[in-house]
């Protein structure tokens, strides 16, 4: 079941690992390191799932989420946010903004895969 995942992550090594992991499960993964570029890409072709790191250079992950939720086309697009442990206030804000799920860094590979499967199949 081919699904399209857009990963917005500026750490290349994490991005490669996630790309490999999810690719193995049959999902198509594209990676962008910048929030603004990601919004342009989403407008051009809407993915089935966005994985979004909270800490991004330039436009923050939170702002990307807010933009996605503000646009009717992407209001219900599943978004999983990667956070570090202890960013409680940020997680609350993200929940209020309508994030679909969280994944804490460092994550276990099996958890990542299970979470993505849940979001892809649940949508």
């Amino acid at each position: 079941m081919a699904g399209q995942v857009l990963l917005i992550e500026d750490e290349p090594n994490i991005a490669e690992a996630i790309r490999f992991l999810l690719g193995r499960q049959g999902w198509e993964v594209s990676v962008l390191g910048d929030g603004r570029a990601a919004l342009v890409a989403v407008a051009r072709r809407r993915p089935d799932l966005v994985i979004l790191d909270l800490m991004l250079p330039g436009m923050s992950g939170m702002d990307v989420l807010l933009h996605l939720r503000a646009d009717p086309a992407t209001q219900n697009l599943p978004v999983m946010m990667l956070t570090a442990k202890g960013q409680g206030r940020d997680r609350e804000a993200a929940t209020r903004a309508g994030v679909s799920a969280f994944m804490t860094k460092p994550f276990a590979n099996a958890e990542m895969v299970a979470a993505v499967r849940g979001l892809m199949e649940g949508a």
Binding site: E11, I14, A17, I18, F20, L21, M55, K105, P106, A108
Partner: protein
């Protein structure tokens, strides 16, 4: 020099040590023996002139009898009593008997004061640590960097270990990534350990902010750069070169240039002499043709100066910190909004004076002044019309009562529960 009755005990000690009789000493000093007896038992205050005559009569310098150490002791005791108040904040100690206590049990009074100072030192160390942990952008960046590297390692190593048929190019890529992240972790961990090990020695860790490095460098030199007294900043260039980071060297050079200019405008001997006549910073500024903050800088960096000094820019960010014992200065993050420094910042060219009380109970006389400058002139060029503000606050330990303004160092670690300026809850407050 404030005289209290504790001089009486010292007097008695001296007289007895010298084997002299009360009657003889009293006669030599021109007072009655019974009066001397009352003085010696701390039942009467000693007037400075009488003390001087008694010192003469005993053949000792008057400083030996005057309250030097005791002044500090009584203040420490008062501060200790202030801190050990009951629920409504009222002291439970018998403050009106404080001098009696100190003179009758000097040993115990010393123990109590010593414990209070030590407790104060510990609280300030915790304050500094907590301040650093929560507000240090370098620490947070270090931790974030390490977390990213750990996350990558965990995922990558998991893939390598658990995937049966990894294509060779991916395997190679993952091995490279692991190696890279392991290096990142090693560097990050070393830096973190050095940082935590070096608490209070910011200049050795390399994670210290450049400003901290410069302040530590100045502190090691007693805050006074003797070499630039001739007005030439280059004279101190070899010492500036000792600073570890490039940014610190830039700041150090700038400070040296400023100090050299100050020394040129306010020559040391003339400045000290002028201060002896009158210590008014506005008059001194006018006399030497400099700004009031320049006078503050000069005062605080004289050899042996006891004054503390904080300087902030127009955003309120502290750009310079010379501490004074008992007045905690925050490292990162914002300071206490009640500091007269900020009152001055919002009223350029208006001198502000106040007596403040730090969280440890010690009192300080502070003077604050904001000097605006216009680096771009009126315009029309870049920055034309832009006003820069620099505010400075001189801090001097003070004695005595009267109206005081209670202040802290920064809200997060300040114990004052009912302060109207509190911007965030304090870790010092009780939970709930």
């Amino acid at each position: 020099m404030p005289m209290t009755t504790l001089a009486g005990s010292r007097l008695r000690q001296r007289r007895q040590a010298l084997g002299l009789r009360q009657g003889d000493v009293a006669e030599r000093a021109g007072i009655s023996a019974s009066y001397l007896n009352l003085i010696e038992h701390n039942r009467r205050r000693v007037l400075p002139e009488v003390l001087a005559r008694l010192a003469l009569a005993l053949g000792v310098p008057v400083e030996a009898l005057a309250e030097g150490a005791e002044g500090g002791l009584l203040d420490d005791l008062r501060a200790a009593a202030g801190e050990a108040g009951d629920e409504s904040g009222d002291p439970v100690a018998e403050l009106d008997r404080i001098e009696d206590f100190a003179s009758r049990f000097p040993g115990w009074a010393g123990v109590l004061a010593g414990l209070h100072r030590r407790a104060g030192g510990l609280v300030r160390a915790v304050e500094a640590l907590n301040d650093r942990m929560s507000h240090d952008p370098h620490l947070q960046a270090s931790l974030h960097e390490m977390l990213s590297a750990v996350s990558s390692v965990r995922s990558t190593a998991g893939i390598l270990a658990e995937t049966e048929d990894i294509p060779p190019d991916w395997r190679e890529r993952f091995h490279r990534n692991l190696h890279q992240d392991a290096e990142r972790l090693a560097v990050g961990a070393e830096a973190l350990v050095a940082y935590l090990d070096g608490q209070g020695q910011a200049d050795e860790t390399g994670i210290a902010a450049p400003q901290e490095e410069v302040e530590a460098w100045l502190a090691a030199r007693g805050w006074h750069l003797d070499a630039v007294e001739g007005g030439d900043a280059a004279a101190v260039a070899p010492q500036v070169a000792e600073l570890a980071s490039g940014a610190a060297r830039v700041l150090g050079r700038a400070w040296a240039e400023q100090a050299a200019a100050d020394a040129g405008a306010m020559p040391l001997a003339a400045f000290i002499a002028a201060r002896g006549v009158g210590d008014d910073p506005l008059l001194l500024a006018a006399r030497f043709g400099v700004t009031v903050p320049a006078v503050f800088r000069r005062i605080a960096t004289l050899p042996g100066a006891v004054e503390g000094l904080v300087i902030c820019d127009g955003s309120g960010t502290l750009t310079f910190r010379k501490p004074v014992a008992g007045f905690a200065l925050p490292r990162f993050g914002a300071a206490c909004p009640l500091w007269p420094l900020y009152g001055a910042l919002s009223r350029p060219m208006v001198p502000i004076q106040a007596v403040v009380e730090a969280t440890g109970g010690q009192r300080f006389a502070v003077r604050a002044f904001c000097q605006p400058s216009y680096p771009g002139g009126v315009g029309p060029g870049d920055f034309g019309g832009v006003e820069l503000r620099e505010a400075a606050m001189l801090i001097l330990p003070a004695l005595g009562g009267g109206a005081v303004l209670p202040v802290g160092s920064t809200c997060r670690i300040c114990p004052r529960p009912a302060c109207p300026a509190r911007r965030e809850p304090s870790i010092m407050a009780e939970a709930g």
